[in-house]
Symmetry: C2
Subunit: 510 residues, 2 copies
C-alpha cells in the first residue's frame, strides 16, 4: 500500500512537470515508468545478483562442474526472487576441455660477424655462440576454444602474417611445418566495430593454417587492451576440415614478437596445449585417463523463469542473457551483467501493484560461448509456439552505459516505440534507425524465426579490453552504469509487456 501511495504522489509531480510537453502524456504508464527508472537508478538489485554469481560460482565454462553449479545458482536465485515458475531445459554440446597451455619464444640474435683475422679460439667461440639455444621468454597465451591438443610440445619457426587474407594468399611452402602468427590489431570503437573485423583470425585462422600444412597457429588476441591477459574464444565450429592447435597471445606479447620478427635473429616458438574435445582426447588407448564427468557430450541447461502478467494472456515478452562464461575470468561482464540485469528488471516490474498485461519470461541461455547452443536449443524446442513470444531482447555486451536502442518491429508498434524512445531519452539513450535490431546471439535465433526484437546497445569501448580474459571480473563493472542499464531495462520491459498492440509480424530475413 505504501508503495502505491508513493507512486501516486510522484505521479502527480511528473504529470504536472510533463504538461510543458506538446505530446499529451498517457499519464499512468508514464508515471510508473518514471518511478521505475528512479527506483532502478538507486537500486542495488542487479549488483547484488551479479556479486552473488561471481563470488558463489565464478568462472562457468559450458560443460564444467562450475557450469552445473551456475544452473543450480540460477534456479535458486529465481525462486528466491519470487518468479511464478522456474524450470530448466537441457542443452547438449560436445565437451571441450582446457587442461594446460604454455608457450615460449626463443629469439636468437646472431653474434657479431667474425673479423677476417679471427683466431682459432675466436672462431670456436663464435661457432659455439651461434649454435647455442637462446633462453626462452614465456608467452602469455590461451588456447582457442575448439582447439585440438598439440599432444606434447611443438616447436618451429614462427612465420608472421598481417591478416587472415595474407595467410590465405601465402604459398604452402611459406607455411609448411611452421607455426603461423596472425597479428591483426583490433581497433577500439564505441560500437565495438573492430571485433567483426578481426575475429576471423580466430574463427577461420585454424582451418586456413591447417590447409597450408602449418603445425600450429598463434593469433594476436582479439581485444583492445594492452594487458598480458590473452583473449580466448571459439574457433568456428561450422567450418569443415582440419584445424591446427591454436592459441591467442596477449597484445603485449604480440608486440614483443613483432620486435623479434623485425630483427635479424631467428624466432622459434614452442607451444604445448593440453586441450581438446573430450571425444578426441579420450581414445581407447587412453581410457585410463578418462574421468567421470568428461564424457564426449556434455549437458547443460537453459534456466527459465516466468512472471505472469495481469492480462491472463498466453503471450509474454522474452528477455535473455547467457549464463555460461569463459573459464579465465568470473564472467562478470560477459555475461553476468546481462544475467543480473534481466533478472532484476523482471523482478522490479513484477513487483508493481499492477503487473503489465503480458507475462515476462527470463531465459538464461546455456553455453553461448562455444556455439550459441542454448539459443539454438530454445529456438528449436519453442519454434511451434513462437507466436506467444511477443517480443525478445538480450543483454550481452557488458554493463557500460546504454547509448542507443534499435528495433525490429512492425509499423503498428510505432506509437509504443516512440513512447519508449521518449523515456529512454531521459537516460541518455537515443533511438538508432540506421539498422534493424538483431536480437544478439541467443535471442537472435528466435528473431531468425520471426520474433520481433529490440536491441539495447551498450558502450563497447571498454568491453573488448576485458572480453574472454581473466580480467572479466566484478571490479570492472561500474555500479552506476549498471543502474543506468537497469533503468533502461525496466523501461523496456514495462512498456513492451504492457503494450496493447503486438510487435509483429516482422520479416526475419531483412
Amino acid at each position: 500500500m505504501k508503495r502505491i501511495l508513493l507512486i501516486s504522489a510522484a505521479g502527480l509531480m511528473v504529470f504536472v512537470a510533463g504538461c510543458q510537453s506538446t505530446a499529451p502524456l498517457d499519464s499512468e504508464a508514464d508515471v510508473i515508468v518514471a518511478q521505475l527508472q528512479q527506483d532502478a537508478l538507486s537500486s542495488d538489485l542487479a549488483w547484488d545478483i551479479l556479486a552473488s554469481l561471481t563470488s558463489e560460482v565464478g568462472p562457468r565454462m559450458g560443460g564444467t562442474e562450475a557450469d552445473k553449479l551456475a544452473v543450480k545458482w540460477a534456479v535458486k536465485k529465481m525462486r528466491k526472487l519470487g518468479f511464478d515458475r522456474v524450470w530448466t531445459e537441457p542443452v547438449k554440446f560436445p565437451r571441450w576441455i582446457r587442461t594446460s597451455e604454455r608457450a615460449e619464444v626463443f629469439y636468437s640474435v646472431p653474434p657479431e660477424p667474425l673479423a677476417a683475422d679471427a683466431s682459432e679460439m675466436e672462431k670456436r667461440h663464435y661457432e659455439k655462440s651461434r649454435q647455442k639455444k637462446p633462453l626462452g621468454q614465456s608467452l602469455a597465451i590461451t588456447a582457442l576454444g575448439g582447439s585440438p591438443s598439440t599432444n606434447g610440445p611443438v616447436e618451429a619457426e614462427l612465420v608472421q602474417f598481417d591478416s587472415l587474407e595474407a595467410l590465405e594468399s601465402a604459398s604452402a611452402e611459406e607455411v609448411q611445418g611452421k607455426i603461423v602468427f596472425i597479428s591483426t590489431k583490433m581497433r577500439k570503437t564505441r560500437q565495438g566495430l573492430g571485433y567483426r573485423e578481426t575475429v576471423v583470425m580466430r574463427s577461420r585462422g585454424p582451418f586456413v593454417a591447417a590447409s597450408k600444412g602449418a603445425l600450429a597457429l598463434l593469433i594476436r588476441s582479439v581485444g583492445t587492451d594492452t594487458d598480458r591477459l590473452p583473449h580466448t574464444g571459439m574457433m568456428s565450429g561450422s567450418e569443415p576440415g582440419e584445424r591446427v592447435p591454436s592459441a591467442a597471445v596477449s597484445n603485449s606479447d604480440a608486440d614483443n614478437l613483432m620486435i623479434m620478427l623485425a630483427g635479424e635473429g631467428s624466432v622459434v616458438v614452442r607451444m604445448n596445449l593440453d586441450v581438446g574435445f573430450a571425444a578426441d582426447k579420450y581414445t581407447e588407448d587412453s581410457v585410463d585417463d578418462y574421468e567421470e564427468g568428461e564424457s564426449a557430450e556434455a549437458t547443460s541447461f537453459n534456466v527459465i523463469g516466468e512472471f505472469d502478467g495481469s492480462g491472463d494472456l498466453a503471450e509474454f515478452i522474452l528477455i535473455g542473457a547467457h549464463l555460461d562464461s569463459w573459464d579465465l575470468g568470473t564472467g562478470a561482464v560477459d555475461d553476468g551483467a546481462g544475467v543480473a540485469l534481466v533478472m532484476a528488471a523482471a523482478k522490479m516490474v513484477s513487483e508493481l501493484p499492477v503487473r503489465p498485461r503480458f507475462g515476462i519470461r527470463v531465459v538464461l541461455f546455456a553455453n553461448e560461448e562455444q556455439g550459441i547452443y542454448g539459443g539454438k536449443a530454445y529456438a528449436k524446442l519453442h519454434e511451434l509456439e513462437l507466436s506467444s513470444h511477443v517480443l525478445g531482447a538480450e543483454s550481452d555486451m557488458g554493463a557500460d552505459r546504454i547509448y542507443s536502442f534499435r528495433t525490429r518491429v512492425s509499423a503498428q508498434a510505432e506509437p509504443l516505440i516512440a513512447r519508449l524512445a521518449k523515456h529512454l531519452g531521459k537516460l541518455g539513450i537515443e533511438r538508432d534507425e540506421s539498422s534493424l535490431a538483431s536480437g544478439a546471439a541467443d535471442v537472435g535465433q528466435m528473431r531468425k524465426l520471426g520474433m520481433p526484437v529490440i536491441d539495447m546497445k551498450q558502450d563497447a569501448t571498454r568491453y573488448f579490453d576485458l572480453h574472454h580474459t581473466a580480467n572479466d571480473t566484478l571490479d570492472k563493472v561500474n555500479p552506476d552504469n549498471l543502474r543506468q542499464n537497469l533503468a533502461a531495462w525496466v523501461t523496456l520491459v514495462y512498456l513492451t509487456a504492457n503494450s496493447t498492440t503486438l510487435f509483429g509480424p516482422v520479416d526475419p530475413s531483412e
Copy 2:
C-alpha cells in the same frame, strides 16, 4: 664536422631567441644543451636500447640464467655504443627461486534453512549440501620474494585484516592456524605516495603473521591497477625471525575475496607455493633435486661503462639504473627504461664535438629488487674513492614524464642548479625545493656516504599499475615520454659533467 656546423647554426638562433630573457645566457653551454634537448626529443636511441633488452633478454630476475644473459647484453651493448671502457664487478646474494605458485578459494554458502516440517529426504539433502565441499575459484597470486615454500598445499580459513596495524593488534587466537589476508588498498598519486603507505604489508606482514602462528599470508597487491596480474616484490630481508609463506593476490581477486568475506559462508583458501631460498630448498634429503646453477649463493655483476671527459680529470659523474627485473614481466618499465636512458644520455653527451670536463660513468646495478645488492656492493667497493664521484643520479621510476627535480648539493653549486632548472623548465620540469634528493635505491647507497645527488622525478601515476607484474612490458612505455626523459637526462648529464665547481660536500644524514 657536419654536426659542429649544425650546432653552430642552431646556436645562433637560440642565442637570438634567448635575448628576450633578462638573465644573460652563458652562450655556448646553453646552445649545446638546447641542441641536445632537440636531438633527444627526436631520438630513438633509448627506445632501441630498451627494445633490444626486452626482446633479447626479457625478464631477468637476479640469480637466474636470464640475469647472466642481461649482464652479457649490457657489456656488449656498452661496447657497441663506444664506451671508453666497460667492466663488471661481482655482486653476491642468496639465490631465491620461484618454481610454481597456485591458490584457490573455496566459498561455501550455507543452504537455505530447513523448514520445521522438512521430510527425511529433505533433511538428508540439506545435510549433504551443507557438508559438500564447494568448487574452488582459482586466485591470481604470486609469491613474495623471500617467501619460503609451503611444502605442498596448505589449506585453512582466511582471516582478513584491513591493515598491518590491525594484524599487529590481533590476538594469537584470531590468527593461529589460519591464512591471514591483509587487504589495504594502495592509492594512486603522481608522486607514488601510496607505495610507502602500503608496502609494509609486503615487507613486514610475513613476519608479523608468523609471530602470531598463521599458516600463510595473502596480501592485496601493492599496486594501483585493476588487472588480474598480481604484484610481486621482496619481503624485508633485514627483519629477524620466522616468516610464513606469503603471496600477493591481484586487486580483482582481493575484491572478490572481500565480497566472500562479507557473506554468510565460510572462506577457505588453499595455497601451494613452490618457492624459496636455494639454501632452504636443497637440504641433504633432497640432494637429488639439486640442479647446477641453483647453489645457495648466486653471483651477478654490476656492469659499468665510462666515457672520459675532456678535462683530463680523475673525477666523473655517476648515472645509474638497475639491470635486474622481477621475473613476471620483461622489466621494460622497472627498470629497463632507466637502463636505456642512462646509457643513451651518456652516449649522446659523449658524442659532442667537445666532451664535458668530467667523465661520465654509467653503472647498471645488479639485483636491486631483492635487496639493493648492486648498490650496496658498489658503495662498499668504491667507498674510499668516492670523492672522485662528483655527483650521482639514478633513473628507477619508469619513463612517464619527468615533472620535477630535486637536489642534495652544496651551496656553491647553486648557479649551476639554477641553469639546470632553466633548461629543464623548457621540458616542463619544475625544481622541487621542498625536500632533498635521495639518490633512489642504488645511488642512494653512495649518497649515504656523502656523494651529492640529484633526483629526476617521473610521473608515477601509472607506474604502480605495472610495477612488479607481468604487465611490465615495452608496450607500456610511451616513446614520446621516453624522449622527454632522455632530453632531461642529457641536460642533467651535460651541465653537471661540464661544471666548473664541485657539488659537495653535502651532509648525507639530513
